[in-house]
């Protein structure tokens, strides 16, 4: 008797009543809607950011609704006089755009060659055990707060540049140019010697290599002397900031381009090695072209890191709103968009609603638009590379 009732009640519980089924489905739907709304909340945040930055930037370009103030717009994009506290304020932001650009360019010149060759080394050269040591180094570089970098730039690096900038520059130049010129002269000598008949080749190569080596040494010595004689009037300048920003952008460049190199896969490598290519040739001719879009994405991310950075440039760029003369002079102080926003908002905050306040939002809007465009480009690039690698 007992057993029978148990089975019958079990039978009942297996079938859900209509009500229970409805409740469960409702619960599932509510749960999913909740999850979806929380997720979209974090996505909507970015729309909010665009909306609120634009809302506060518009009054600068358009003091009355629907009525563009073209003189303001023209001044903003084409003049270099930045005197927000004058009456009436002058808001020529060209020098700020220029400052951001030169600093980013400098950072890229540091981060991209170093970062890509480090990524190549990490993915194709280093044995596993060494890689386990290098990875934390990159992670720590990425983890150090930007204000600590800025502090280093201002308190340690800037005085060093100011006191003995010439020798620092000369040392850096020797460090980089000596191996480069050495290898170049060696290869050029070999190539030159290859034109001679077999018998003479050895002496010819020896001769041409030594001549080229001498020449490049003389060049090195000359440029090094010139650099060592340089005097840097201010240690807080575009050069200082470029180096530090380059170091800050390094981890991004390294890890993203290493991922891209890893994604290429073993088959291509093995095929190339099987054809007798050396490691350098494999990487330069086979892996790099396959991974180029991922590496491009890494460079773009590095640019975004450098251009959006605030504390380092605010502390160590010198904050002079000017276009240095000549325009490629890295040893002059500059002022960037981010530093201007950070530095001027403290004074403009209590005059909320003034054009001093709104112009900073206009600067932020430019930054935002730039990083958005960069993001779109990098996404497109990554999508393309995925497609390409998927096909091959």
């Amino acid at each position: 008797m007992n057993a029978v009732t148990v089975t019958s009640s079990k039978k009942q519980s297996l079938m859900m009543s209509r009500r229970a089924d409805f409740m469960q489905r409702l619960g599932r739907n509510i749960g999913q809607t909740f999850l979806f709304s929380v997720t979209s909340l974090s996505a909507i945040a970015v729309l909010f950011i665009f909306f609120f930055i634009t809302r506060d930037a518009i009054p600068f370009f358009m003091p009355e609704a629907g009525n563009f103030n073209w003189s303001n717009v023209r001044q903003f994009f084409s003049e270099t006089a930045w005197y927000p506290s004058a009456d009436p304020g002058q808001f020529g932001a060209l020098s700020l755009f220029y400052g951001s650009a030169i600093v980013t360019l400098g950072a890229i010149m540091v981060a991209v060659p170093l970062g890509i060759s480090a990524a190549v080394c990490l993915s194709d050269v280093l044995p596993f055990s060494l890689r386990q040591i290098v990875k934390p180094v990159i992670e720590i570089l990425a983890a150090i707060p930007s204000v600590a970098y800025g502090f280093f730039a201002l308190v340690v690096f800037a005085p060093l540049l100011q006191d003995s900038g010439g020798s620092v520059l000369a040392f850096g130049f020797w460090l980089i140019a000596l191996p480069v010129l050495g290898i170049t002269s060696f290869i050029a000598g070999e190539a030159f010697a290859a034109r001679f008949p077999e018998k003479l080749r050895k002496t010819a190569s020896l001769l041409s290599i030594s001549v080229l080596g001498m020449l490049s040494l003389a060049l090195l010595w000359f440029v090094g002397q010139r650099l060592a004689g340089l005097e840097i009037s201010s240690g807080t300048n575009a050069f200082n900031v470029s180096i530090i920003l380059g170091i800050m952008a390094l981890p991004t460049v390294v890890s993203v381009s290493e991922d891209a190199l890893q994604a290429v896969g073993r088959e291509l490598r093995e095929g190339s090695y099987a054809l007798g290519a050396t490691r350098a040739e494999t990487i330069m001719r086979t892996i790099m072209p396959a991974a180029i879009s991922g590496i491009l994405a890494a460079v773009i991310l590095g640019v975004m890191r450098a251009i959006g950075e605030t504390m380092v440039v605010w502390m160590a760029s010198g904050n002079a709103a000017q276009i240095p003369a000549p325009f490629y002079n890295f040893m002059e102080p500059v002022r960037t968009l981010t530093a201007t926003i950070a530095g001027d908002m403290g004074e403009a905050d209590h005059v909320t609603g003034s054009s001093r306040y709104h112009v900073l939002f206009a600067l932020a809007l430019c930054l935002l638009a730039f990083s958005f465009a960069m993001n779109l480009v990098s996404e497109a690039v990554v999508r393309r590379s995925r497609k390409k690698l998927g096909k091959s």
Partner: protein, 516 residues
């Protein structure tokens, strides 16, 4: 190309890779070395008796007997210095004595208004009045005399006063200069009026600063512009040269040789640097309000970011189908990750403070919300990766045992992904703790006290990253408090690196688990 050229190219290629990795490691070492070396100097240093006095007076640290005994011994060591100065001043004063006598004699014979005014002035001169006072009174008398109808006798007295004043004044100026240097080193001298600023109540608290100021005391620094081609050369002359042949000459040798007895440097582990607040704009004391502010901001940011981030990751991994909406969501998130940090700060100001009005002015709450928004993409991405790394067989097993989708996520996938999620959370905590730009307009102030948890809803707070910036760019005595700046940077970097080391250890455990 020849074979050995190709080999050479290959080698140099490899060498370039090693070189760049070496450069990266060098950069890390070069940046961390000064921060760690000088930053630990804020905690462990040779503290002088002044440090212990500040600690006792302001923070109640140390015992009365010890401080008192040490103060007595130090005072005994310093007494000869003060005696020498007093003796020298006395000597200079006697140089003025005959001028005073002449004036007295003049007043006695003159009579009338002039005499009364001079008498009144002279009454203020007595044996204990200082050199400066004597000079002031002499000047006043001289003015009175010059304002009167003058005869030859007046003229004589005036010229005598002028001559004496000139001679003594130069000496007195040198002496005052030297006393200022001594004040910087030892603290207030006997007879000084109490200063408003706390920093003038004590001498140097650190032995390295002592040595710096000892050098300033022993040598005078000036600029030599005699060569018009080079712009000014720094010259350093011994101060003792100015006092040759006077009674005060041995003071320099005495201070140099007995500085240790006067300051009592002792190697100290100053852990209170972390747990006390600051006095007189960070000249004395520690960094507790900043540390606490950073703590509040980080915890607040995580309170908002963790639930949102983990839920979003669960949705994206387990529920979302690859529709247009979802790919749009993902695009939005990657855009959010690329927004510059300063723009987050402006957004926090425009939205959380000016539009929504979460608080009346800057507050920890607004700063936390802004920071949470900034680290949200990191948290989502890390959680997503952790969830995707859970082996598919776990999910299949749970579903096969009859668990629903929600139950599978809660009881199987999340626990398995937890270490990975934690790793991401810890790393983004480090990012939130170190980020400055978003909190400039939303949460940070330069000077403030430690807040209680309830106050965070409506009050701004000092925070480590902001105060590092503030102290090294806007403080009025930047060079005086380098050790505090380095201490702050060291504390922040140590905090962030600690979080990262925890993350690395967590990750190592996960990979061991997955392998084993």
């Amino acid at each position: 190309m020849q074979l050995h050229t190709r080999k050479l190219l290959d080698r140099s290629f490899t060498a370039t890779g090693f070189f760049s990795i070496l450069m990266m490691a060098c950069a890390l070492v070069l940046i961390l070395y000064p921060i760690i070396k000088r930053g630990t100097g804020a905690y462990i240093f040779r503290a002088t008796v002044e440090h212990r006095r500040v600690q006792f007076d302001e923070f109640g640290a140390g015992s009365v007997q010890e401080i008192g005994q040490e103060a007595a011994e130090v005072a005994a060591a310093r007494q000869p210095v003060f005696d020498m100065i007093a003796g020298h001043e006395e000597g200079l004063k006697t140089g003025l004595q005959d001028a005073f006598e002449q004036i007295r004699a003049l007043a006695a014979t003159e009579g009338g208004f002039l005499a009364r005014s001079i008498e009144r002035r002279l009454k203020r001169v007595h044996d204990s009045s200082s050199l400066e006072e004597c000079l002031l009174i002499l000047g006043a008398v001289q003015e009175t005399l010059e304002g009167r109808l003058q005869n030859e006798r007046h003229q004589n007295v005036i010229s005598l006063i002028k001559e004496r004043k000139k001679r003594v004044h130069a000496e007195a100026k040198k002496l005052a200069d030297m006393k200022d240097a001594l004040r910087d080193l030892l603290g207030p001298l006997p007879g000084d009026r109490a200063s408003e600023l706390l920093r003038n109540h004590y001498g140097q608290t650190r032995w390295d600063r002592c040595l710096h100021y000892l050098d300033k005391f022993l040598y005078k620094y000036g600029w030599d512009y005699s060569d018009p081609l080079s712009g000014g050369v720094k010259v350093r002359t011994p101060r003792v040269d100015e006092f040759h042949g006077t009674a005060i000459e041995p003071i320099f040798a005495y201070v140099r040789d007995n500085l240790e007895a006067m300051m009592r440097p002792r190697l100290t582990f100053y852990w209170r640097f972390l747990t006390t607040d600051s006095r007189d704009a960070h000249i004395f004391g520690g960094i507790w309000p900043e540390v606490l502010g950073t703590f509040y901001l980080t915890i607040g940011a995580m309170l908002f970011a963790i639930p949102m981030g983990v839920i979003a990751a669960i949705y994206l991994c387990e529920y979302a189908r690859p529709t247009r909406t979802v790919s749009l969501l993902r695009s939005c998130m990657s855009t959010l990750a690329g927004v510059p940090s300063i723009v987050f700060g402006l957004f926090g100001l425009a939205f959380f403070l000016n539009t929504v009005g979460v608080s009346d002015s800057k507050s920890v709450l607004a700063g936390s919300l802004t920071l949470a928004l900034m680290i949200l993409p990191t948290v989502i991405r890390a959680s997503e990766e952790a969830i995707l790394a859970v082996p598919f067989s776990y999910k299949e097993a749970a579903l096969g045992l009859g668990a629903g989708r929600w139950r599978t996520v809660l009881t199987v996938i999340l626990p398995a992904a937890m270490p990975g999620i934690l790793t991401g959370i810890v790393i983004s905590m480090g990012r939130a703790a170190g980020e400055t730009a978003p909190i400039i307009f939303t949460a940070a102030v330069s000077v403030g006290l430690a807040l209680s948890p309830l106050q965070t809803l409506n009050n701004p707070t000092p925070a480590l990253p902001w105060n590092i910036y503030n102290l090294c760019t806007e403080h009025e005595a930047v060079d005086e408090i380098r050790h505090v700046q380095f201490g702050m940077v060291f504390t922040l970097v140590a905090l962030v690196l600690l979080l990262n080391i925890i993350a690395i250890a967590l990750r190592a455990r996960i990979s061991r688990k997955l392998r084993g």
